[in-house]
Symmetry: C2
Subunit: 148 residues, 2 copies
DNA sequence: CTTCTTGGTTTAGTAGCTATACCATAAATC
DNA sequence: GATTTATGGTATAGCTACTAAACCAAGAAG
């Protein structure tokens, strides 16, 4: 468990580092996160993004405003509905998104190589344990919320 | 990897929830973190705690001030050295620390039970992989810092 | 047509940092 | 021993990344 917590905090530290996207602008952690989510799930409205990210819609609104200011995201409304706001990446934004995905895959390559060294049943076990931990944390979260 | 990231964000969400320590005071995430570290490593000075936690000494100073205000931590100076400030838990603080440890062990019990179901070599593999990930993230962190 | 609900934005306030300036004490140098 | 340098700690200003609440507008329901 100490190892897990250590890994989490190191991962968090890595996530925090801002990424330069042009000579003018950096993308901060939450902004990059948002951009990637928009890239993954095009055509969701603000409220749905808020749910997907686990934050309030106000938070999404704020981050999107910044991303729009940096020219990587665009809001738009569907013809029929004048209320809901949908989000999509601009050309620039799409480039950054794809770049993120690529560098992400590249950094994860060593992990895949390492895993290839081990027999399949062990790797399956690892995945099963991660799933178990995921479900475990879900349950803990629910229990904590009930206790408030 | 998706599973890992999901687990991380759920773990972070759990960590964020403030803990009531009395009718008057809550302990926020950073404060609880600090309190636990002081409990684990008594008699370190502020600078060493900053290193141990991976934050600046200013940050430690701020959190400690709050913890002192809530009556769970005390600063003191060793007789000989008038410069360094050491940290220790008060009676109340020690109680909270031990309570954290106990509830922590209790929440982790299901995980231990789950692990007991599997043969030793698989558990060892799990630990090895976590160590590998830890080292991997360490390296990535260093490389990122160099690139700035 | 009026009321209620839903989607979005804005604002004020907060935690949790960092960086910087600053002060005091200890260590090193002359 | 006096002066300079290094070290330990604090205080302040500023930032990200949120939340909660007030608010506004558009749809849906009555």
């Amino acid at each position: 468990m100490e190892l897990f917590i250590g890994a989490v905090s190191k991962y968090n530290a890595l996530e925090k580092i801002p990424v330069k996207v042009s000579s003018e602008h950096d993308l901060y952690h939450s902004e990059r996160h948002m951009l990637d989510k928009i890239g993954d799930h095009p055509a969701l409205n603000v409220t749905d993004f808020a749910k997907a990210l686990g934050v309030t819609k106000g938070a999404v609104s704020q981050v999107v405003k910044k991303l729009e200011g940096k020219g990587v995201v665009r809001r738009y409304k569907s013809g029929t509905n004048e209320k809901e706001v949908f989000l999509e990446l601009t050309e620039t934004g799409r480039g950054i998104y794809l770049d993120h995905k690529k560098t992400n895959d590249k950094t994860l390559e060593p992990l895949l190589d390492e895993l290839k060294k081990y027999p399949d049943d062990k790797v399956q076990f690892l995945i099963a344990m991660f799933k178990w931990i995921d479900g475990f944390l879900n349950q803990s979260g629910k229990r904590m919320k009930e206790h408030l």
